[in-house]
């Protein structure tokens, strides 16, 4: 219980820090991109100019503490400012449309990547004397070294452009609506395969490597030797004795890996023009839509913090040492 409270406290605190960083970043930056931007967007209405100035913290008439207070109050009301590229739509309305796509695509791909990666890693550790397992390991070290977006480009080139098996991009067939029911869902799945594959394959190497090394460490433990001496079946030793214990650090590594996975999926969306947060981030950068950029950044941090929190809770359930508070 104490562990649980500590995690909640850290979550609340980290969210506070994240909000503060989001507030400080534009105010710490040298130069004044806002003025350049306002000049460039000649004919912008006063409300939009204000949105830009707010995003950059250029309300020089107010002192920084009052600005900070206003910022927090606006956030609590769900007011993230007004998007410049989608003017005059509020940022939240723009962002809201992108969130489900990213959460769906990334959620499913991350879970698949974790499952497959862990299974492959366990097998590689168990059969680590074989040449094949060396080769598979090398292959994934190689794949992991590519920029995600490039891997996505290659898949598009070979599986969508050269051999039109899959669509080139987007999330659904143009013109289909949720009202189309099953057709719509089928189209979503069909469009999701290539971006999903990109994320799953490129991030799998991380899980494979983590679980493999843990597993090898566990296999050297005395209780494995004892289990073998007792004549337990090999599959029982592998799954119940070794893998079960090797998987814990992988779950706690989940939090760390999530940052990489998110980075990877942002870029994947850019390549596939997938209408999620990553593609929106790309557009926000291109069009210098700073209010939108800030909001996307904030949501990504919040997403990571909450996933971390969930991973912590899973560890609490899995690991009796943490649960009973013997450790920490």
């Amino acid at each position: 219980m104490k562990y649980f409270l500590r995690r909640i406290l850290w979550l609340v605190f980290a969210i506070f820090i994240a909000l503060t960083i989001n507030f400080m970043l534009p105010r710490l930056m040298p130069g004044d991109p806002a003025t350049i931007l306002i000049q460039r967007l000649e004919g912008l209405e006063p409300a939009a100019i204000n949105a830009v100035r707010n995003a950059f913290g250029l309300e020089t008439d107010k002192n920084i503490i009052i600005q900070y207070k206003d910022y927090l109050i606006d956030l609590l009301h769900g007011d993230l400012g007004i998007s410049i590229s989608h003017y005059p739509t509020p940022v939240w309305n723009v962002l809201r449309k992108a969130l489900p796509w990213t959460i769906g695509l990334m959620g499913i791909s991350t879970v698949l990547s974790f499952l497959f990666g862990t299974l492959i890693g366990i097998t590689l550790a168990w059969k680590r004397k074989s040449r094949i397992s060396d080769a598979v390991l090398g292959l994934f070290l190689f794949i992991r070294s590519f920029p995600y977006f490039w891997f996505g480009l290659i898949l598009v080139y070979f599986l969508a452009f050269n051999n039109p098996i899959f669509p080139l991009g987007g999330a659904t067939k143009v013109g289909l609506m949720p009202a189309d029911g099953w057709e719509y869902i089928k189209s979503i799945l069909y469009h999701g395969i290539l971006p999903g594959m990109t994320i799953t394959i490129t991030s799998m190497g991380y899980w494979i490597l983590t679980i493999r090394n843990n597993m090898i460490n566990v296999l050297a433990e005395d209780y494995i030797t004892v289990a073998k001496a007792k004549g337990l079946s090999m599959s029982r030793i592998k799954n119940l004795y070794a893998a079960k214990n090797a998987i814990l650090p992988s779950v706690s590594g989940f939090a760390m890996a999530l940052g990489f996975v998110i980075g990877g999926s942002l870029l994947t969306e850019m390549v596939f023009s997938y209408p999620g947060v990553g593609f929106m981030l790309y557009q926000a950068v291109q069009q210098q839509d700073y209010p939108l950029l800030q909001a996307i950044f904030l949501f990504i941090i919040l997403g990571v913090l909450f996933s971390n929190f969930i991973a912590d809770i899973v560890i609490m359930i899995l690991d009796p040492r943490v649960r009973d508070g013997a450790k920490k």
Binding site: A14, I17, A18, I21, L25, P26, M29, P30, G31, P33, I36, R128, K129, L141, F142, I143, R144, S145, F146, P147, F149, W150, F151, L153, I154, V156, Y157, F161, N162, N213, I216, N217, A220, A255, M256, L258, G259, F260, I262, G263, G264, L266, L267, M270, L281, Y282, V285, Q286, Q288, Y290, L293, Q294, I296, F297, I300, I301, V304, L305, N308
Partner: protein, 285 residues
């Protein structure tokens, strides 16, 4: 100790392969003007202007770009900046991680609390979005801003690992003995602790260099780099923004990514070897 490490390192097959690949890239970078048939920004020779978007031929091994530049030459010259940014960022990141890790781990107390606190925050902030946001605020486009952004966001993981290793090493007998003998903290840190965490420092360097090479390519691909610089990342930017895919010009976007991947693999292999060397359980087969 360090000599032994080097010896093990060279005899390890994975490490050797990594060293060979890296050496080839360094060779390419140093002798780029001799290897590349043309200057990277040359679009004509005595026979006249180069054909635009040419397919690979004996004259242009990897064809030409939309502006008539020889892609093979750009790939060769691009090695210079790409490698430089990766290694410089790797060195800076490792230096920060080592300094903070040693400070926090050895001195403990308030210093450690402050360092750990900042470290934990940087660990939970996903680095790529942070990199993109910071880079889009910086209006100067170039290699140095990229190095700055990547170093600023890349030190947290290394610091975490080094700090916890220092914490265990400083409890070992030989450190205690040195302390009792009245050695100065700096001497203890450099003579007793550093040699014992050297494999970790090397691993940190390799990991952060891979991250930097990929991070640089990513920033440039999105258009947040100096697009007139010749690097693998900007090559991909130009290929993407000139629809290389639709022209079926695989020779334009395939090679830069492959080079990034190969360079990354060479560091990953060395990293893996370090793991095997410093962790006998993994080494024993």
């Amino acid at each position: 100790m360090i000599k032994d490490m080097l010896k093990l390192f060279i005899t390890n097959r994975k490490a050797l392969l990594g060293v060979i690949i890296l050496s080839i890239f360094i060779f390419i970078a140093v002798f780029a003007p001799l290897i590349a048939p043309y200057h990277p920004k040359q679009s004509s020779d005595q026979e006249g202007k180069f054909q635009l978007r040419a397919a690979p031929s004996s004259k242009h091994l990897l064809g030409t770009s939309h502006a008539g530049y020889d892609i093979f030459s750009r790939l060769i010259y691009g090695t210079r900046l790409s490698l430089m940014v990766g290694i410089v960022t790797g060195v800076i990141t490792t230096f920060i991680a080592l300094t903070l890790g040693l400070l926090g781990g050895y001195y403990g107390g308030v210093i450690d609390d402050i360092i750990s606190f900042i470290n934990n925050i940087f660990l939970v902030i996903p680095s790529l979005p942070l990199i993109i946001v910071i880079a889009s605020y910086i209006t100067i486009r170039g290699v140095w801003p990229i190095i700055f952004v990547l170093s600023f966001t890349g030190w947290a993981w290394g610091t975490r690992v080094i700090r916890s290793q220092v914490l265990t090493v400083r409890e070992r007998e030989f450190v205690k003995v040195a302390e009792v003998l009245g050695e100065k903290p700096l001497v203890i840190v450099f003579r007793e602790i550093l040699p014992n965490i050297i494999s970790l420092v090397m691993a940190t360097f390799f990991t952060s260099t891979i991250a930097a090479v990929i991070g640089e390519a990513t920033l440039e691909f999105i258009g947040l780099g100096n697009i007139s610089a010749v690097t693998w990342g900007t090559m991909l930017y130009w290929a993407q923004n000139n629809a290389a895919l639709l022209y079926n010009a695989w020779w334009w976007f395939l090679p830069p990514g492959l080079f990034i991947g190969l360079l990354g693999t060479s560091f990953a292999l060395m990293n893996f070897a370090i793991d095997e060397i410093s962790n006998p359980k993994i080494r024993k087969r």
